[in-house]
């Protein structure tokens, strides 16, 4: 029994729904109690789909349990076929129906429906959403792709895109971006599945020369099956980030035996990242959490393409634990493999990052900890299903990633200026030139004791009872410092003096403090 408030993944039947909803002409008959239809609103609200998900729920109730829930299932399956005339049906049980042990596969078979019926075993008490999606795609490929057949020699090789589903993080636009990239390389796309595919399309999976695995969480079992049954190799690199996209291109060229002649699209990321405004990004402490695929991609981008320091790395995808642990070693940190958001919250707080890259949950944790954050992985809320084109994959994806990671941070010059002005008391004691100044003209150089309470009263109270006094020379020296850093210099010097119990601030103290606080 696990005490849970937030779950990174839904139950496995949600994964099956993501496959069914991504496809066309496939219907899912789900043996489930009344109430499980809540899942519809994930698709109609978060992804803003304009149709109901193609799912018929048996919605059995307590009164059905005494009689025959198997009959309820058969009625629902028959009615679903009559109403929707799907080209294929998948059947499965949600957690409660798994307990009552009706056998949806066997029951559906006895109906003799005039379309393929593919049973799913969803193991609701040991597996989760991504596993459910992967299992469903695997069963569909197994059930519909047919026997291995001869593939004719073609001028342009043919590939399947495997893995995009409904409710996938940026799957819609990743498909477009990678299709464009493959086309530019000289590869045509045979079937994209499950998103956009029909059951009839799946019967053509075997026509492709190879498979592109976009999201291993969903596509890997199907790709491995197709490799074995149809002799189709599959790509191992997920093209998120410049380096990964280049590696992906090399991998595709190798698999498809393509020359390196094609002219490829480019990305702004390498130059944006080299431009001087990005210098301040160097060594920014970043914490990365999400699904395995996106976390591994983000780690590489952070390390090689933006120049962050990775101070935390983790995933809720246990299937990827080994790879994520390996990658964490590059940064001398321990990978965080957990699906408990409280563990993640604690790890973030302990790591003191300057930027968090994560899911919707990390967005909220960051809000609570007042840290900048960007979303890199599912689960996400409605705002991460944007109206605009926003892929993560390929070269345009790299542009999107650069913008979305950097925007929560302050831009370089902006940060520099604000950093100087933030603690500048002269700057704050005057009202804005847009307003009326009620503040009296400032004394030449007020001492710490004379300053308004706003200047860190707790720090002052906690240190020596005697406030250090500026010597005349030190005061003159301080005036030579440009006004926009003067406040900071004064504050730092006084803090330095208090911490050392100095009663007088001399010119020497001023420069000692500068040396102490300077980076």
């Amino acid at each position: 029994m696990q005490l849970t408030l937030w779950t990174y993944e839904g139950p496995p039947h949600i994964g099956a729904m993501r496959v069914a909803t991504g496809m066309k002409g496939l219907h899912f008959v789900l043996h489930a109690p009344q109430g499980d239809t809540y899942a519809d609103l994930l698709f109609t609200m978060i992804e803003r789909r304009a149709e109901r998900p193609p799912v018929t729920y048996t919605t059995f109730q307590a009164r059905d349990l005494g009689t025959d829930t198997a009959e309820v299932f058969k009625d629902a399956a028959r009615a679903a076929y009559e109403r929707h005339h799907p080209r294929a049906i998948i059947v499965g049980a949600s957690c409660t129906a798994e307990l009552i042990q009706d056998d949806p596969g066997g029951l559906a078979k006895t109906l003799g429906l005039p379309c393929p019926v593919i049973p799913l075993e969803l193991s609701a008490y040991s597996r989760k959403e991504n596993w459910g999606a992967a299992e469903t795609l695997y069963r569909l490929a197994r059930g519909l792709a047919g026997e291995r057949r001869e593939r004719p020699a073609r001028a342009r090789p043919l590939a399947n895109l495997l893995g995009p589903t409904a409710l996938g993080f940026r799957h819609r636009d990743d498909i477009i971006e990678i299709t464009k990239l493959l086309n530019a390389l000289g590869v045509d796309v045979n079937v994209t599945a499950p998103m956009g595919a029909t059951p009839d399309d799946l019967t053509r999976l075997g026509d492709a020369d190879f498979n592109v695995v976009l999201y291993p969480e969903v596509a890997l079992p199907a790709a491995q099956y197709l490799e074995k049954a149809h002799g189709q190799p599959y790509t191992k690199t997920v093209p998120i980030g410049i380096g990964a996209t280049r590696d992906f291109i090399a991998e595709v060229r190798k698999i498809a035996n393509l020359p390196e002649t094609a002219e490829l699209p480019t990305s702004n990321l390498p130059w944006w990242s080299r431009s001087v405004d990005s210098t301040y990004l160097t060594g920014k402490r970043v914490f990365i959490f999400g699904d395995g695929t996106h976390v591994l991609a983000a780690e590489r981008i952070a390390r090689e393409e933006i120049g962050f320091d990775v101070v935390g790395l983790g995933t809720y995808s246990r299937e990827f634990a080994r790879e994520v642990r390996e990658r964490a070693k590059l940064h001398n940190i321990e990978a965080l493999i957990t699906d408990d958001y409280l563990d993640v919250e604690k790890a973030i707080a302990d790591a003191h990052p300057e930027l968090v890259l994560g899911t919707q949950m990390e967005r909220h944790i960051s809000k609570r900890l007042r840290l900048p954050c960007a979303v890199i992985s599912a689960p996400t809320h409605v705002q991460d299903f944007p109206a605009r084109y926003a892929p993560q994959m390929g070269f345009e994806g790299a542009n999107v990633i650069f913008d979305s990671w950097v925007h929560p941070l302050m831009m370089g010059l902006e940060e520099h200026l604000l950093g100087m002005f933030r603690e500048d008391s002269e700057f704050h004691e005057h009202a804005s030139h847009l307003g009326v100044s009620s503040a009296p003209a400032p004394a030449p150089i007020p001492t710490a004791a004379e300053q308004p309470v706003a200047a860190a009263p707790t720090a002052a109270a906690a240190s020596s009872p005697v406030e250090p006094q500026w010597t005349d020379e030190a005061t003159k020296e301080l005036k030579k410092i440009p006004f926009f850093v003067r406040g900071k210099a004064r504050g730092n010097t006084e803090k330095y003096a208090r911490e050392r119990g100095l009663t007088t601030i001399s010119v020497g103290t001023l420069y000692d403090a500068k040396a102490h606080y300077g980076r």
Binding site: M1, T7, D36, Y38, E51
Partner: protein, 424 residues
């Protein structure tokens, strides 16, 4: 699986069709989302599956990030293998939870479909845990499972479970008024004020704190503020309390009749009653007159959701001139709905139960001006050119009483106004 039988009711009101089929509704667990806000020192622990946790997470939206007082104890393979362990596991989960949240005074163990199907005895678990943790924290159980409860029935089950634990009112006590059903605090305060002006001291179930729950006894008169509280009403009657029959306090008329039923029970003089309601009633009528211009003559279709459908249809028909063409409710408790049914236009098609495919066929055929439905149906229907009002908002928004009457009507005006604005 589709059945539709028409039965003439005994009393007034339209004929009732009974439908059975696929139900597109929330389960009773969803009630936790508003109940935990109402009872400020209660915690709701669902004993269920990952699906239950995912459901509450999806229904609670951003609320999930605000340290809410609910959680799910997710059953896993180990719990299913040997039932004996489940109680030990539950004890340790509850122990840790109460240790971490010492502010919790009332813990609800909430049953789910999986816990019901494998027959985890939560009643016994609650007794055992109560013996262990009382008086610091009391433990009570109820079922919110989809196989037994539809959406708002979760609140009914919760309050019904609370009733046996309410303090006993002495048999010699003066007659007292209990208002039953979770209301937004602002609405509760308004009603308390109105009753006070009439010289009636009203208490509310549920109270905002576990130790402030109202007492009950043979001199208690209770009035339902929500229509879905059949089991709670029975439990209160079992403790000797008597129900005041009334329509529900939606709209100016509904609120007046509701208050009046209580006032008459407590022999409030007519002048005193009129004086108490006059300002609120006048404000409500003024705001409703404006909404009537926008909504008058428009047809409305209700999918089944919360059991609020009939009072809402009655309000919209009588106070802003809408035409309810098809009203479905998940359950119809005839005794609790008698006053409402008598006021519903006779030509309304009234349905009890659900067959979502049949309802979709009807809504497409009738093409109402507004369709009230769940979030799983709203966008698909909008895409078909129908204007929708998503129903769940009617549970989370303060809608009862005089000063909310205009807001309630406005919830239906807004989608229409939006549709007429958009030109793309």
């Amino acid at each position: 699986m589709n059945e539709s039988v028409s039965i003439r009711p005994h009393g007034d009101g339209p004929a009732v069709h009974h439908e059975r089929g696929q139900r597109s509704v929330f389960c009773g667990l969803t009630g936790i989302v508003w109940l935990h806000r109402k009872i400020q020192d209660a915690f709701f622990l669902v004993v269920g599956s990952r699906t239950c946790a995912h459901l509450i997470q999806s229904a609670a939206g951003v609320m999930i990030f605000a340290e809410p007082r609910f959680a799910t104890a997710i059953l896993d393979q180990r719990d299913l293998a040997g039932l004996a362990d489940v109680h030990d596991e539950l004890d340790s989960v509850v122990g840790r939870l109460l240790e971490r949240r010492p502010d919790i005074k009332l813990l609800f163990l909430v049953g789910s479909c999986p816990s019901e199907v494998i027959k985890i005895d939560l009643v016994r678990a609650a007794q055992r845990l109560n013996a262990k943790h009382a008086p610091k924290a009391r433990v009570i159980s109820y079922s919110g499972s989809g196989i037994e409860k539809t959406f708002t029935e979760g609140e009914d089950a919760c309050l019904a479970a609370l009733v046996p634990t309410l303090p006993a009112e002495p048999a010699t006590a003066a007659p007292s008024l209990m208002v039953v059903g979770a209301l937004a605090d602002i609405v509760e305060d308004q009603f308390a004020g109105l009753f006070k002006d009439m010289g009636v001291d009203a208490r509310f179930l549920p109270a905002r704190r576990a130790d402030a729950m109202p007492a009950v006894g043979p001199n208690t008169r209770f009035i339902l503020a929500q229509p879905f509280l059949a089991e709670t009403a029975r439990a209160l009657e079992a403790r000797g309390a008597r129900r005041i029959a009334a329509p529900y306090p939606l709209g100016a008329e509904g609120t007046t009749l509701w208050l009046k039923a209580a006032a008459e029970t407590f022999d409030v003089p007519a002048e005193k009653f009129e004086a108490a309601i006059a300002p609120g009633l006048a404000r409500a009528q003024m705001t409703l007159a404006r909404q009537r211009e926008k909504l008058g003559g428009k047809t409305i279709f209700f999918f089944p959701d919360s059991q609020l459908e009939i009072p809402l249809a009655r309000f919209l028909a009588r106070e802003v001139g809408m035409k309810p063409v098809d009203v479905s409710t998940p359950y119809l408790h005839r005794a609790l709905m008698a006053e409402e049914l008598a006021m519903l236009p006779a030509e309304t098609r009234l349905n009890e139960g659900s067959d979502v495919d049949a309802q979709l066929d009807r809504v497409r055929e009738k093409r109402p001006d507004i369709t009230v439905c769940g979030l799983g149906l709203a966008n698909p229907l909008e895409a078909e050119g129908l204007t929708t009002k998503w129903a769940i908002e009617l549970l989370f928004t303060p809608i009862q009483g005089y000063d909310q009457a205009g807001d309630l009507a406005e919830l239906f005006t807004r989608p229409l106004a939006r549709r007429s604005r958009l030109e793309v």
